[in-house]
Structures are given as C-alpha cells and as structure tokens.
Symmetry: C2
Subunit: 291 residues, 2 copies
DNA sequence: TAGAATGGATAGGCGTTGCCTATAGGTAGT
DNA sequence: ACTACCTATAGGCAACGCCTATCCATTCTA
C-alpha cells in the first residue's frame, strides 16, 4: 500500500472515472489503472465496480475511502506542521549562564529578546561551567553563556566579548587612585576570591600565575557582591571582570595592566546540534549586545 | 514523502540509532540513511542531530514524530478495516422483489436469513420489474427477485424456480373439479387479470397468446388476493402462478395443461458489480429455498 | 597517543517498479 | 454496424530504492 495508490484511489472515487482521475493526477490512465489494480490485489478485494460506462465504489471501497482520506490528511498535517515550525521563531529556548555572567549580561538581553519574540518561551539556568556543559550534552540547555575557552570539540564556541580585569581596592587604599596597576603591586595584600568551582576563580588564579603572583586568599564567596562588600569594608583586595563593577559599592576599581588579564565570554552550543530559528535569533541578539 | 521514509524515521526515533533502526526495518544502514536524508531534504530541515555517538531528534523532529506515527496508524486502521470487512458477513443488503413474488417467497427467506446473519441489515423494496431494474442499475438494490427472462446483458440472472400456472375458477364452475385444463377451455369466460405494469400480466397474456386465446378482461387489480376474492364471488376466471394459490379462498385451482404455461423466478444482479459476502449469502439462501 | 571499534555518510552497481505509448477488448450511443 | 468512450494489457524505458564496499569522524581502549 503506497501513498500514490491512495491518492489515485481517492481521485477515482472523486471523479468516478479512471481516465479523469489519471488526468487530474497527472499520470497516464494505464499507470493509474495498474496502481489501483495493485492496491486491490494487495487488499485482496475490489474497491471499484467497473460497469462499462461508469466506475462505482464497492461496499468495501466505500468504507476504505474515508480511511484513505484520513491517511492523506494526516500526511498533509504533518507536512504543514513542519513548514510552519521550520520558519517560525517560536517554541522554547533554554539558556544557560555561569553565575559570574548571568546577573550582569542576561537581564537586558532577556527582556529585549522577550519583547522581540514574545512567542518564544525562555528558560534560564544558572550553573557553573561543568554543569552547563553536561546540560548542553544532554540537550537540556540550548545555548550556554560562559567564559571561553572551552576544551573538547564536542562544543562549538562563539566569542562574544573580551573584558579587562579590574583590581578591587578599598577606597582609602594607597593604590586606589592609580590609573592602572600590575598584579605584582598587590601581591602582598590579602585576597578575596570566588569559591572553587566558579570559573572566574580560575581566570583570576591564571592571571596571577602569569604574573608570578601567589595570592593569599582569606575569603571565598559564591558571588561578586559579597566580595565587593568585604573589600569595601577594608578586608583586602579582589579581582573582578569589568561587567561585575558596581559603582555604588564602597570600592575603587583599577584596571590591571598585566597582559592577558582579561576574560572572554562566549556562547557555546553542542556541536552538530541543529539550532532552531529561535536559538539562532537568541545567538544573534547576544552578539549584538556584546558589541 | 513516502511511507517507508516515515517508517524509517519512526524506527530511528524509537531506537535512537540508524544502524539499529535499519536492522529493525530489515534494510541496510546505508539505505535507511539515504531515505532519512531524502526525507529531511524534502522537508527542508533536519529531523535528527547526528552527534557522534548518538542520534537525537531535533525540535522539529520531535513535533514531526507524532504526526508521522499518526499517518502510519491511520494506514494500519485502513488496512484493518478492509481485512475485517472483507470476510465478514455484515453490512446491509437491499433486496428488491416484484409484487407477485414478494409476499409468497420472501417472508420465509427473510426471517431465515435474519436468524442466520443477524449482523446484516436487510431492506426490502417491492416494485414492478422496470423500477427494480433501474434500482439495480443505480446500485440502490443489490439483488432483485423477479420473473425471468430479463433482457439486456447489463444484468446477470440466476434462475431460482419455474412454477406452473393455474386457472382460478369459482368453486361451482363446471371445470372446477378437473385435473387440468387448457386455456382454450376458458377462452369465453370473463377474465380477471393483474393491472398493466405487473410482469405477471405479461406472463399470463403471453400464455394466452401461445394458446391463441384472446381473453376478455373485465377486471384488473394490483394484487392476486383481490383477484381471488372476485373469482370466489363468481365474477369470472383468472390465471395465477402456483405460489399465489391460497387454499383459504373461495376458489378452485386447476393446473394449466398448455405447454409453456409457467413462469420462472430468478435472482438478478447488476453484471460486473462486486457482491459482498452478505449478498452472496442471501443469494445462496434464495437458491436453497427455491429447491 | 596510537589503534581498534562503533556508527553514519558516500559511491557505484543492480533489480524492481512505476510510468510511458500503443493497442486490445468491452460497453454505450448513433 | 459504426463510432466513441473507457478500462485493461503489453512492452520498453527511466527512476529509484536497495545492496555491498568503503570512507570518515568520534569514542573507547591499550
């Protein structure tokens, strides 16, 4: 039983004639005849009575007709669904972001995206990098926003922005008014850093390593705002990316002059995974905002 | 979009692997791959993400899957309907019968048939021959029971029984006690006959013609029972087929000895029309009862 | 890190099958 | 009887699905 056979069958039922059905189906009459015969053969019963002048459905044909139509209707519905969804920006998108990016970068982007594409259901997951990568692998997250580079080429990365690192100093610190400083200049200061697991901690430690600085860490937290509070209270110094700067805090921010004291934020997707139009729209918005 | 493509697609979705799907579908993996590719090509979008180890449905694939299943389910339903109806004795059967046969032959057959095949919805139409033939042509009647022969080979006839004709005489008629009589012997009697249009009238007239008798018709009716009543009242004589004999009436019935004074009842169907199992069952019951 | 194993895509050949044209065979209508 | 119309059949051709062999990428293992 093939689809074209069902189509031919319906055409004959509609037109009441093999010839007209063939014409309507854009095939020759013998071809159509053959296919109807073949269909009848497979079903083991006649679907039409050939009565000289006209062709009429048998009882069996009468019950088969609506079923055949149903098959074709379902088929069209399937095709329709695809073309509809294919070029519509809708559905749901799950964004993952690391905690050291989420509160600074996402809010503006999310609101803008929601305003632009209200059809899309947005979900945001805030997790540390390895968890996000796992979620990407499992397709539980569509796009992850995190610090590059990511190793392993099962992922595909799109760099978004590279931001300088800043030293965070108490307002009355002796270096507080400098235009820039080197990490070496704060090597003796007590350090406040993010907790282990947060990738920005690796960024900071890596920057220190490069500068041959081995900071003495006296406080760890899961969020920058805590660090800023502690620094403001004079507990020590810290290191943060530009986007975490908070003018309202009690701190001074001085750019780090050491080369490579930066972090790069990028969007990461699972390599080979097909992205929906909504996914792509979000990606392009990300790039736009990163400029 | 072809059915086997949908089947392959579902198989891949089910097994999560092209290879296993191919095995399950009894085709080689390359064949299945090609067909999936072709399907994706036609739809203009990927249905699966090929991720090294595993294969996963895309968003689009996820919405396509239930639709594809629906198509295949409808297809199976269609096939199921056919095989079920093909060899079941059910549905409806419409029987046509002429008025000079219906009340005598049908009642027993109908009750017997209904008892044997309660699933079949029986309808009976009582009309004169030309009307029945029209109904046969229009497939409004499946099987007509009427007097043969029928001319025109758009019909197919199955003789059921040939019955002798009887003269109907008043009980005190001078020929009433004869073992048989010839039409010639009643040529002078006033005749009571069926109305024009009833084919038995033609039967009767034909029998008279053959016997070179030209009866003087003084009464016409649409049913034998009226004729019998009138004959019983002494109005004249009549001619009826055996099955119309009514012992309870006030008449004597004497066989007609003239050769060919018979009528043949047969079942007639539209030639080339396919008969349902129910139709065939009714036909065979007809033959059985006619013996 | 090399090598084996797994799984999907590609290439090329083969057989089936659906479609074509031409024609036969049958039934209405003139 | 002749014509017109319609479906079935015959035979040839091209397309397409399936096959085997092979490639290529990823993943697992030594």
């Amino acid at each position: 039983m093939e689809l074209h056979q069902l189509r031919y069958f319906c055409a004959v039922a509609d037109t009441g004639s093999f010839s007209r059905a063939a014409e309507q189906s854009h095939v020759s009459q013998p071809s159509l005849s053959q296919q109807i015969l073949k269909l009848e053969d497979e079903l083991g019963a006649r679907l039409f009575d050939r009565l000289g002048r006209s062709v009429r459905l048998t009882e069996l044909g009468k019950t088969f007709l609506p079923r055949a139509r149903a098959v074709l209707r379902e088929l069209e519905a399937a095709r329709g669904d695809v073309v509809e969804q294919k070029d519509s920006i809708a559905g749901s998108v799950t964004i993952g972001a690391i905690p050291t990016v989420a509160p600074y970068l996402l809010p503006r982007i999310l609101t803008s995206f929601s305003r632009k594409f209200p059809q899309v259901h947005l979900t945001v997951v805030e997790e540390i990098t390895p968890v996000l990568l796992d979620r990407l692998r499992a397709s539980l997250v569509d796009i992850a926003v995190l610090a590059l580079p990511i190793r392993g080429h099962e992922f595909e990365s799109f760099p978004l922005l590279t931001e300088p690192l800043f030293a965070v100093l108490p307002q009355k610190h002796k270096l507080a008014m400098r235009r820039s400083i080197s990490l070496k200049e704060v090597r003796k200061e007590p350090f406040l850093l993010l907790r282990d697991g947060h990738c920005f901690r690796e960024n900071a430690v890596a920057a220190c390593d490069r500068a041959r600085v081995h900071p003495q860490v006296i406080f760890e937290s899961g969020q920058f705002s805590s660090l800023l509070g502690m620094v403001g209270a004079g507990m020590g110094v810290s290191l943060i990316p530009q986007m975490a700067m908070d003018k309202k805090s009690n701190c001074r921010y001085v750019p780090i002059s050491d080369p490579g004291a930066t972090r790069t934020i990028g969007a990461v997707v699972l390599r080979g995974r097909s992205l929906t139009r909504a996914n792509l729209s979000f990606l392009s918005l990300l790039r736009q905002f990163a400029k």
